[in-house]
C-alpha cells in the first residue's frame, strides 16, 4: 500500500499539483525529511494537502500524515478509503472535541511513531482572504506531547483561488509555499501559539501577492 501511495502521489498527484499551482517553494531546505515533526500550515483549500504532500522529496513521503477531520473525510467509504490509504490521514474527530474524548490521540500516536504530522491549526478551510482564522491550540498539545518534534510553520499563498471552499471546478493559478524556521516547544502553550501565529503571519507578509484584490 505504501508503494501504491508513493506512486500515486509522485506520478499523478505531483504533476497535477504542478499544473494547477506551479508549486513554487521558498525555503525548501527547511522541510523536515523525517519525523517526528509537525508541519503547521494555513488552510484555504483541499489543494493545500495535495500541494504539501507533493513538495516533499519521495523519501520523506512515507512519514507524512495530514491530520484531517474524521467527520468530513471518513463519512463516505470511497473518499474514506482514499483519505486513509493514499492521502494517509490521521483522523481527528472534530465533533467529539470538548466531550472529554481525546480527539488528538491518533495524531499524537503517529508523532510518537516517527511521523511528520501535517496540521492546519485554523481547524477548517478559510475564505481565501488574507486573514488567518483564530488558531486552535491542538497543535500546542501535540508539540507538548512530543517536545522533540520541531514545529515547522508553512504559509501557502494562492491555494484558495485554485479551489476555494464550495467550488467544484479548479482553476490553475500560481501558488507559493513559504517554509519557515522551526519552532521548538518551550513549555508554555500561550507563548507557543503566539510564536506560531506571528511566524505564519510573517511568512504570509513575505508571499507574492497571489490573492484577490
Amino acid at each position: 500500500m505504501a508503494l501504491i501511495r508513493l506512486l500515486f502521489l509522485m506520478l499523478i498527484g505531483r504533476p497535477i499539483a504542478r499544473l494547477m499551482t506551479g508549486a513554487d517553494v521558498i525555503g525548501r531546505e527547511r522541510l523536515p525529511l523525517k519525523g517526528p515533526a509537525i508541519v503547521a500550515a494555513n488552510h484555504n483549500s483541499h489543494v493545500d494537502t495535495v500541494l504539501l504532500l507533493t513538495i516533499f522529496p519521495p523519501q520523506a513521503l512515507r512519514w507524512l500524515r495530514p491530520a484531517a477531520a474524521a467527520d468530513y473525510f471518513l463519512k463516505d467509504p470511497v473518499i474514506g478509503w482514499f483519505s486513509r490509504n493514499i492521502i494517509g490521514i490521521v483522523p481527528v474527530a472534530r465533533a467529539k472535541a470538548g466531550t472529554g474524548v481525546d480527539v488528538l490521540a491518533p495524531a499524537r500516536q503517529a508523532l510518537l511513531d516517527g511521523a511528520i504530522v501535517i496540521i492546519f491549526p485554523e481547524g477548517t478551510r478559510g475564505p481565501a482572504t488574507d486573514e488567518m482564522a483564530q488558531l486552535k491550540s491542538g497543535v500546542a498539545r501535540l508539540a507538548e506531547a512530543c517536545p522533540s518534534a520541531p514545529v515547522i510553520p508553512i504559509w501557502i499563498e494562492g491555494a484558495g483561488r485554485v479551489l476555494p471552499k464550495g467550488a467544484a471546478i479548479p482553476v490553475p493559478m500560481n501558488c507559493t509555499v513559504l517554509v519557515g524556521e522551526p519552532i521548538g516547544w518551550k513549555g508554555d502553550r500561550n507563548a507557543f501559539m503566539t510564536e506560531l501565529r506571528d511566524s505564519l503571519l510573517a511568512l504570509g507578509a513575505e508571499a507574492p501577492p497571489q490573492r484577490w484584490i
Partner: protein, 325 residues
C-alpha cells in the same frame, strides 16, 4: 512507419543542424564555467551560475527536440509556454474573486488560438484574440455583475492574453513555413534564429552592462540596466542578425537591415515593459519555475515583443501577402 535515424539526420537542414551544434558548444562552455568557477574563485556562492546553466540546458533541450520533431510539436510546446506565462501573469496581476471562471476561459483561448494555427487558419487567428476575445471577455464580466475595478481588470486580462498567447503564437507559427518560403533552413530554422537572436540579445545586454555599464538608462523601472549594456547588446545582436541571419532567413538587403536594427530594440522593450509590471506588482520574479532565471515571463518577456516583429518583417519583405498561401 519505422524510425530511420540516418534519414532523419539527413532531413535536418544543414544550417539548423550546425546552429544546434553551436548552441551545444556554448552550453558546454557554460557548463565548464559553472564547474571551473568554484575552483578558481572559492569562497563565493556560485549556486546561481550553476542553476542558470542547468536551466539553459533544459530549455535548449526542450526547444531543440520540439523543433526537430516538426511543427506540431513546436506548436504544442509554445502552447504550453503560453499557458505557463499566462498562469504567472494572471496570478500576480490584480484580479477579483468574481473573475475566477473568466481566468479559466482565458486559458481556453490558448487551445483555440493555437488550434487555428494548427488548422492553418491564419486569418481567423489574427482576429480571434485582438477582436473577439477583446469583445467577449468584458461582456462576460458584465454578466457576472461585479462593477468594482471592472475596467482595469478587463484591460489587464486582455493585456495578458495578447502578450502571453497571441504574441508567442507568431513564433510558433513560423515553424509551419514551407521549405519553398524558407529554403535556407525551413520553418524550424526561422523559429531557431528568432530564439537565438532574442536570447543572444538578452545575454549580450547583460554581459555588456556587467562589464562596462555606468550610465543608468531607466533607473526607476529597471535599476540594473545601463546605456552601455543597451548599446553594446544592440550592436552585438544587430551584427549577429546581419551576418548570421541570412543562413536561416530568406530576407536580404533593406529588410535584413531593418530586422537587425529593430529586433534588439524590441527585445529591450519587452524586457523593460515586464520590469515595469513587476515593479508595479511588487515582485522581483514572476515565479521560481526556472532555477536561476525566475519565471517563464522573466525569460520570455523579450520574446513576447520580438516574436510578432520578426514575423511581420519577414512577411512584409519576403512573403508579401498572408503567409504560406
Amino acid at each position: 512507419m519505422r524510425f530511420d535515424p540516418a534519414g532523419f539526420l539527413a532531413s535536418i537542414p544543414q544550417p539548423l543542424f550546425w546552429g544546434l551544434v553551436g548552441v551545444l558548444g556554448l552550453l558546454s562552455l557554460g557548463a565548464v564555467a559553472a564547474f571551473a568557477m568554484p575552483v578558481l574563485r572559492p569562497g563565493r556562492d556560485h549556486t546561481n551560475l550553476r542553476q542558470r546553466v542547468t536551466s539553459w540546458w533544459i530549455m535548449a533541450a526542450l526547444l531543440s527536440v520540439a523543433l526537430l520533431a516538426g511543427w506540431a510539436a513546436t506548436l504544442a510546446l509554445f502552447a504550453f509556454i503560453s499557458f505557463l506565462a499566462l498562469r504567472e501573469f494572471l496570478s500576480l496581476a490584480p484580479m477579483r474573486r468574481e473573475d475566477r471562471l473568466i481566468i479559466l476561459l482565458a486559458y481556453l483561448t490558448i487551445l483555440a488560438s493555437y488550434g487555428f494555427l494548427a488548422l492553418d487558419r491564419y486569418g481567423i487567428y489574427l482576429v480571434f484574440i485582438p477582436v473577439y476575445v477583446f469583445l467577449v471577455t468584458p461582456f462576460l464580466m458584465a454578466c457576472i455583475g461585479q462593477t468594482r475595478a471592472y475596467l482595469p481588470t478587463a484591460a489587464v486580462i486582455q493585456w495578458g492574453i495578447v502578450t502571453c498567447v497571441f504574441n508567442l503564437g507568431f513564433a510558433a507559427y513560423l515553424s509551419r513555413a514551407p521549405l519553398a518560403q524558407a529554403p535556407q533552413a525551413g520553418g524550424a530554422g526561422l523559429v531557431f534564429f528568432l530564439l537565438l537572436a532574442t536570447e543572444a540579445n538578452d545575454v549580450a545586454q547583460y554581459v555588456w552592462g556587467k562589464s562596462l555599464g555606468r550610465t543608468k538608462i531607466m533607473p526607476r523601472v529597471s535599476p540594473n540596466k545601463t546605456w552601455e549594456g543597451f548599446l553594446g547588446g544592440w550592436a552585438t545582436t544587430a551584427a549577429l542578425i546581419w551576418f548570421v541571419g541570412p543562413l536561416f532567413m530568406p530576407i536580404r538587403g533593406l529588410g535584413l537591415g531593418i530586422m537587425a536594427a529593430a529586433l534588439p530594440l524590441a527585445g529591450f522593450a519587452g524586457d523593460v515593459t515586464m520590469s515595469a509590471i513587476k515593479r508595479d506588482i511588487g515582485v522581483k520574479d514572476t515565479s521560481h519555475l526556472i532555477p536561476g532565471h525566475g519565471g517563464v515571463l522573466d525569460r520570455a518577456d523579450s520574446l513576447t515583443f520580438t516574436a510578432p516583429l520578426y514575423f511581420h518583417i519577414l512577411v512584409f519583405f519576403c512573403f508579401h501577402s498572408a503567409p504560406w498561401p
